[in-house]
Symmetry: C2
């Protein structure tokens, strides 16, 4: 677990998109972000107070989170001095970069001397068990997708927020690097050793109160030839009571694979339920979460109405129109 | 790749079963085994010449293969002297033990000095790609199962042998530690990082002659909640043209999970084809491979006949009655 609250390091982000991780923390865990640290030339702004390392420490920050990604996910030389200063001052550092903090000898040396921890969330820090397949108490909802990058993380986060606003017990469970940096914990599933994938998700979503919901971040898609095995392990390990199917309606082929068409909503539903019911016979697909960002409002509303009627399920875009209908759909489970 | 031929190290195996890996090499790659090395008290015998390290070296052996497994898969102290002597003499060492050769400092030191290699086949030695899903030339047959340990490795090996006897181009492709030690190469799929599982199988079964068959060793089962993700990645990465469904008819529940029943043959067929056709629309289930070891001959023949009729497919036990019918079933693909 990564100590909170955070100081968000934006570095010399060339544009706001490069600071996607910082934006996610700002959007979903604003209470974790006391401020932002920007280097000269930075073109991202989280509208948080600009702070020095010392000012943020005073304000309670205990981890410097690398909220910016270079092309290639490498560690930029221009960041190094600030990182070393942070560790020497007592901060932990958290990163989702491909280049690992632990492979930076000067950072490691500084962290050892100061007993601070370097959190490389791209790789697992836990020895996960082999999945047992046993039922657990509490309820679980998993976001599945017709494709990768269809809005699964966002859907689970938006549901958690609405559920908490309604006074329900709910916990977002991160299964990817961005989600882990946002919430401070989770399983970097795509980096787990094959035999332990399903077990890592059982570990992530343990026994809980009967009225508690885990909102599990989905990964990949059962129809994506590069990553479907990861998606299947997530369904088996998660043992969901409810599935929300996420979809991006303008996509013409599977992400990264121009020769593979998307599955239909019906195919995606049937395949996900087939596997989910192996571990939880009562599992139901309860709603559709459709990412309408590429459509104007009239087209978005038409798209949602058409999908809802065709699949006989509630359908919404949780970012554009709110996640309420997705949470309503859990009623009675 | 592990240099051949091998000297098979049987150590102080307490019984023949403990030498399962050596037995596999003896059965399936006898041309790789020049002799056996036994310590006092050894109760396994491969009916190969007993040789000292020096004699086997003279006979051409270049790798000492640990053909024996302790309870727990650890490295036995009683083996150490022979291992170090072997490395000093010029041998590579190959092991599928959980305890890694590379974690034995004295062995590592000896191997460095002599430039020999320690092959820990339990962990991958290659950086595999992300799967592209692109079609490859050549033909592929994958053994899938209703459960783990249902005879998938044996089925693929037996098919390869019959195909070679018939003058067909065929290569067994190992995806587990035992298969890798037997054949000297392969992918230890259960130890691959999640994101690269399907890619590792594409790497293992590259473009080939149009009339060449890869016989791919299966892993786990799409119905096994602990390992199904691995099985799905294998189907997507392998892009099989043909599936052989392996089954153990007396099993009462999924291996290791008493609360999970086995899928029916029909369910196992439909689930495997659903996913295989995502990457290869022409894929067919061509035959059943049924492990009848627990049945007497009359019961075995009745079981095969019943399954063949029910599924309208050829059915055999390749160990008991030969793999010919499985190979015949590939005709016309």
């Amino acid at each position: 677990m990564i100590p909170t609250p955070y100081l968000l390091f934006l570095g010399d982000a060339p544009d706001p998109l490069a600071a996607k991780v910082a934006q996610g923390i700002r959007d979903w865990r604003p209470e974790h972000a006391v401020g932002q640290l920007r280097l000269p030339g930075c073109r991202a702004d989280m509208r948080l107070p600009d702070m020095s390392l010392a000012e943020a420490w005073e304000a309670g920050a205990r981890t410097l989170v690398i909220g910016v990604a270079n092309r290639g996910g490498t560690f930029a030389e221009s960041w190094r001095a600030a990182m070393i200063e942070a560790v020497e001052m007592g901060y932990d550092i958290a990163s989702g970069l491909h280049t690992l903090l632990r492979d930076q000898p000067d950072l490691v040396a500084a962290a050892r001397a100061e007993r601070q921890r370097l959190h490389d969330v791209r790789i697992p820090s836990v020895r996960y068990p082999i999945a047992s397949g046993e039922r657990r108490t509490g309820k679980r909802c998993l976001a599945v997708g017709t494709d990768c990058s269809a809005g699964k993380m966002y859907t689970a986060m938006a549901m958690e927020r609405v559920m908490r606003q309604r006074g329900m017990k709910a916990t977002f469970r991160a299964t990817g690097q961005t989600g882990i940096l946002i919430t401070g914990e989770g399983v970097p599933l795509d980096a787990v050793i094959a035999d332990f994938m399903a077990g890592s998700i059982e570990w992530l979503t343990p026994d809980n109160d009967p009225d508690h919901w885990d909102l599990i971040e989905g990964q990949g898609s059962l129809s994506h030839p590069s990553y479907a095995g990861v998606s299947l392990a997530l369904i088996h390990g998660g043992q969901p009571d409810a599935l929300v199917l996420c979809h991006e309606p303008t996509r013409t082929h599977m992400r990264g694979l121009p020769h593979y068409p998307l599955p239909s909503l019906e195919e995606a539903r049937d395949t996900a339920l087939l596997h989910a019911r192996r571990v939880n016979p009562d599992c139901r697909l309860v709603a559709l979460s459709i990412n309408t960002a590429a459509l104007d409002e009239a087209a978005a509303r038409a798209c949602l109405a058409e999908a809802a009627e065709r699949m006989d399920l509630p359908a919404t875009d949780p970012y554009r129109f709110g996640a309420g209908p997705l949470v309503d759909a859990l009623d009675g489970i």
